[in-house]
Symmetry: C3
Subunit: 153 residues, 3 copies
């Protein structure tokens, strides 16, 4: 197992647990204020359904939306970088920076702290652009080496 | 091809078709009631755009939201478990349980049946936490065996 | 590196950059009209938070929602087709068609041009169903060849 694969695997685990934490946060506020928008959920507590979610739940839904715009792309791009034998320490460090940035992004979003939320978002995007560069370079290099190999023959 | 990879591949296919089924469900209700929120869609049927989606479409959008919070994580975590040579029958059975739980979750959500929807959601999350454990154990074991190998030399 | 893997890797990069472009489009309209729904974002510009997003931002959010219903499934299904040694040119061409269809879908959605948006969506779904077929055939074939091998022994 390469260091990059080991670090990537642990980062995927941490990111999943972080996202699950946001779901727990939403569930906590729904239960604490017994505020459900689905009729069948409210009925369990013998309440009427709410027209809208609690503000904390809405804010956490925005965390989820931002996560879904970034984290599945990380799953794919970092996985590809490893499959394409990108430099292992580079992939490992980028994975760690991305994971830290996304954890801090969630904390900053839930706390409503700017500009730190935008800084964390920006770091995550920079890492993803970095992985795009790595993947593109690996693909281009492999075609160049094939062509020079063919020219040598 | 390992049994785990074959089962995982078929589960990904089933989960995609299930999610596509939810899109078809949304399209069916939009077409049946000729209710579209995009102006250009309503114009095709010479209608005015609706201010809000139909309740069935909103409910199905919540199914989609819940799917997106769980299914891409399954794609990544089960794929990693297989890449890290986790016990093949364990990965295969967890994949099958996850897939069944998510199919039943969708049916329970669309029918508004509680507590079954929450039970199915919970089973899916438990499987994902199981995959997190498997992946972490594989990574930790590989480092321990490297270290003991280095100590032996 | 197989041609299918190289093409898939570049398609993942293009799809990520396309999705990031949609985020930039949203950010541009929020900044241009200084219209933010989060209080802490509006406060940076000494404005009050808006009750609702700008129409351009809402439209782009629908692009994002449709992307998230299709693109992570492509990441998983095409990755599986390659891992299962599906015919390499078939995977490569399907990846290219999917990527083009999703880029054009975004442009058609932002411009509000029908029926081209639905045509592009439909092409993307057909490619995903194609990958489902490829993956299923590969899994079934591998079990059939194991069984015939076992029968020969």
């Amino acid at each position: 197992m390469s260091t990059a694969l080991a670090v990537y695997a642990l980062c995927v685990v941490v990111l999943f647990l972080k996202m699950f934490g946001v779901s727990c946060y939403q569930g906590y506020y729904r239960l604490r204020f017994v505020a459900f928008t689905n009729q069948e959920d409210a009925a369990v507590f013998k309440r009427a359904a709410q027209a809208a979610e609690r503000p904390e739940v809405i804010r956490a839904a925005r965390v989820w939306a931002n996560d879904l715009e970034n984290i599945p792309a990380f799953f794919a791009l970092c996985g590809l970088a490893i499959a394409l034998d990108a430099p292992t320490m580079l992939s490992a460090w980028l994975s760690i920076v991305f994971t830290l940035a996304r954890v801090l992004h969630t904390l900053a979003y839930l706390a409503g702290v700017q500009p730190w939320r935008t800084v964390c978002y920006g770091i995550g995007v920079l890492v993803l652009v970095g992985f795009c560069t790595i993947v593109t370079v690996r693909v281009v290099n492999s075609f160049v080496s094939w062509n020079s190999l063919a020219a040598d023959l």
